[in-house]
Each structure stands twice: as C-alpha cells, then as structure tokens.
Symmetry: C2
Subunit: 256 residues, 2 copies
Amino acid sequence: MELNGVADLPEIRPGDDIAALVADRAALEPGDVLTVASTIVSKAEGRTADLKDYPVSGRAREIADRLESVAGEEKDPRFAQAIIEESSELLIDCPFLLAETRFGHICPNAGIDRSNVPDHDLLLLPKRPTESAERIRSGLAERGLEDVAVVVTDTCGRPFRHGQTGVAIGWAGMPASRDWRGERDRDGHELGVTVQSVVDELAAAANLVTGEGDGGTPAVVVRDWDFGTHEGSDELFRSVDDDLVRQALRTWRVDG
Amino acid sequence: MELNGVADLPEIRPGDDIAALVADRAALEPGDVLTVASTIVSKAEGRTADLKDYPVSGRAREIADRLESVAGEEKDPRFAQAIIEESSELLIDCPFLLAETRFGHICPNAGIDRSNVPDHDLLLLPKRPTESAERIRSGLAERGLEDVAVVVTDTCGRPFRHGQTGVAIGWAGMPASRDWRGERDRDGHELGVTVQSVVDELAAAANLVTGEGDGGTPAVVVRDWDFGTHEGSDELFRSVDDDLVRQALRTWRVDG
Ligand SMILES: Nc1nc2c(ncn2[C@@H]2O[C@H](COP(=O)(O)OP(=O)(O)O)[C@@H](O)[C@H]2O)c(=O)[nH]1
Ligand SMILES: Nc1nc2c(ncn2[C@@H]2O[C@H](COP(=O)(O)OP(=O)(O)O)[C@@H](O)[C@H]2O)c(=O)[nH]1
Ligand SMILES: [Mn+2]
Ligand SMILES: [Mn+2]
Ligand SMILES: [Mn+2]
Ligand SMILES: [Mn+2]
C-alpha cells in the first residue's frame, strides 16, 4: 500500500472543482482511494462564515457565559451560536462544546475550524460530506478516472486518548467498513473483531501525509490497497440508542 | 509513504524472538516504522491463559449475572474475573465491560482476545506494551537494524463511531504525538489542532494491511514517513482528570 500527497494544489476558492484540480495533478488509477481534507471541500463549497452572521440566542449567551466563568477568559457567544446552528445535539456544553453535526458526526465545536481560513472568521464542515465525496468521485469519472473511491476527512479528538487523528466524515465508491462477521481466525474460530472501520483507517493513514499545518497537501492518493472480498457496511456514526457513552453524557453535567 | 506486510511469519510461540523473526524476513532501513500486532507480542510473551485459571470473586459473579440477565444468554463469570484482574478500573460493567488496562489503555474486555489463540482460551494483552516495543527495537538494533521505531498495536472500538480501528498501545523510538502548538497555518494563524496522535494513525494505517482474520500478517513496515521537526509528546492515555467522558461514566449506570 502506498500513499502520496497530491502536489501543488492551489489555495481553494468557492466554486473550485476539486476533481478537476486533482485530475490535473495526480495520475489516478482504477482501484485508488483519494482522500480529501474537509477544509478544501468546505472552501470549494463556500462554507466560510463570519461571526457577525450569527445573532446570539439566549442559549448561546448562556453557554458562552458558563464557558467564560469556567475558563476565566472571554468567549464569543457568536461562536457558540454558530456551533448550535451546525448541530443536531450538544453532547457536552461545558467546559467545551462537543456536538453532533447535522450529518451525524460527533466532534468538538461541530468541526468548525478557525485555522486555514483566509478572509473569513470561520470554516464550517461540508453540509453533507458523503454527497461531496460522491460529487468528487463523479467528477473524476467524467474525466475518465473511473473506479476511484473518495474519502472526505477531518481531524478530530476522541475520548480516552489524547491527541487528534484523521477520521472520515464522508465517502463514496466503497463501504465505510469491512464486516468480518462469520469469517474465521487462524484456528477456525469465529472472529472477535467484526467490523473494521476502513474509511477511518484510510483517513488516519492519509493524515500522516497531510499534517495539520501549512503543508498544503490536503489530498492524498492511496494505491495498492484493496477492500477485499468482505461484506461491507455504511454505518459509521452511532445513534444514541447504540452508544452508551452518549447515554451517559445525557445524564451528566459538569459542576460550575 | 509505503506500507508492506512482513511475509511468512510463522505461528508465534512463547519465547519466540519477534525482532529476529522480522529481521530475517524484512529488509528494514533506518527511519522505518515497524508495527506489530499485540496478538503476536502476547503469544511471544506467553500471555495466554485459561478460564480455569480465574477463580470467581463475588464481583465477577455479580457482573456475569447482570450481563446474563441483560443479554439473555449465558456469560462465563471466569471471563469477567480475567478482565477484572487485567484492569485498574471498569468504566462500564453492563451491558459490556469497558476497562482501563493496568498500563492505561481503555478498551472492551481489557483487550482480552478469544480469536487467533491456539490451545488456550484467552490471550491477554502484553503486560507493558511500551516495554515490549522497546525490546523489539533493541533486538533489531542488535542485528544491525538501527533507527527503526516500533509500534505495538491492537484493534479496538470507540464511542460515537461504529466499528473498530487499529490503535497503538506501546511505542519506542518515536514520540506518540506530533505537537503542533505554536506552529502556524497557511494564513499565519496559530493552529487549532495541536496534538496529532501519529502512533494511532500509524496503527490504523497498518491495520488496513494486517486485517482481522487469518491473513497471517501481524507485522507491517512503514517506509518514507517522517515524524518531521515537531515537538513530541508521549502522553496517549487520558487520565480521569482530563477526560470528561470518563467522569460522566462514573456517575452513570445502565438500568436493568
Ligand atoms: N493546497 C491547499 N492546501 C490547503 C488549503 N487549505 C488547507 N490546506 C492544507 O490542507 C491540510 C489539512 O488542513 P487542516 O486545516 O488540518 O484540514 P482539516 O483536517 O480538514 O480540518 C494542511 O496541509 C493544509 O496546509 C488550500 O486551500 N489549498
Ligand atoms: N504469522 C502469524 N500471524 C498471526 C499470528 N497470530 C495472529 N496473526 C495474524 O495477525 C493479524 C492480526 O490478528 P488480530 O487477532 O486481529 O490481532 P490484534 O489486532 O493484535 O488483536 C491477522 O492477520 C492474523 O491472521 C501468528 O501467530 N503468526
Ligand atoms: Mn477540520
Ligand atoms: Mn487536519
Ligand atoms: Mn486484540
Ligand atoms: Mn486486529
């Protein structure tokens, strides 16, 4: 398996065609996986915003006040408002905001970035990243680059472990997971691990190449990796019903 | 960046020298990262066990009874006992066991596997996986293979997202994370994402090659990936104090 960053992508602007920009710079082959950082997908989709676009609701004011008193530094209630508007649920509202985006992904601040955003205050995540991935995949196919899977990624923290990793937020041309159920281990026993989230593993792998800084390499080509002959599943984001941690967070509130 | 599975590793037995077995089969170069699945590290370290080795405590009986009544199927209290003995804390004890291992890693069943274990009931995680990684790294150096970083991996589920991914549980020869604090984005702003857990990303990448089944490829060589000139950190496992989810789980208990 080989991963190579797509070199020389320009600064992405609203309306830019990511498939065209990548097709001009990378010799994609059938079976490749192309990962694309959500940052540039958002830029291409015009998902920039400014704090002044978010008139502050009572809830946002309350959240910002509480964050301020816990953090001991000023918090802009308009940022809380932006997060509320991008979310379907706030799982934690103090001492930081952990939100479920409208498309089901759970991450701090609903994934709204304040890095790598020129001329605006905020960069929102793509509205429907799986549709973004599908559009890029079709755009490649239109240019004769057939059978390339596309994964839209973000960088995001997690419980239990320090640090952030690359994760998938949208995908097209492959299932999210390899389902090993019913398959056997080396001794003929049924497997303990049943569902391998390969889109997240591809996003994590690509993030090693992409990095978080000014590298300018938001797209990575993964070659010679094969999904194999497994069942697939497209369930990636847990709902409350099958997530004990989400259930626990609903009954809990930080002091202060 | 390139990843290649180490071909033709035999079935690993207690006392086997993983460094020697890999050195004979892979042309490692300075700067490479070698990932090794904990399964074979555990086998080499004799970390197999049998259910009969675990006389059942009152707590284990209680846990198994409750799991039984919730799941509607028989649960072996000796397995609960094994998990208790491998753990420093149970974060969830129903409807499944989420444990913190003695070395700080949080995962279902304290990472005890029932797949890929010949002749025994259970395979425990390595006792101190970072020491295991250090031993493999020294073993390679003794064979003239200097400057190879080693990451010991496991496959493990997580909150918020379905499926399992490869994660790091021990590492040697490199820091766990790239610390981007103080670095700048493309527009000169300080970065939002500050700590990139590269050992987890390497483990996830390698798991795409390793798989979960009878592939027989527990070791993967990562070539042409560079940590770069960043600060590093070796903190990977969160303590209760800096993990709101752990705090929430302490105040919560499933009904039933
Ligand atoms: N060429 C190019 N690179 C960009 C652009 N915006 C961000 N990047 C790069 O994309 C990579 C990922 O950026 P990051 O902010 O971590 O994206 P995220 O993980 O999707 O939030 C970094 O290497 C950035 O330097 C852009 O408009 N053009
Ligand atoms: N060659 C070899 N491969 C093994 C052995 N035990 C497990 N494997 C392979 O190692 C890989 C990882 O196995 P898995 O049970 O998922 O390990 P874990 O993720 O560390 O729990 C799979 O490809 C297995 O087929 C062994 O003793 N020898
Ligand atoms: Mn982001
Ligand atoms: Mn990033
Ligand atoms: Mn395991
Ligand atoms: Mn595994």
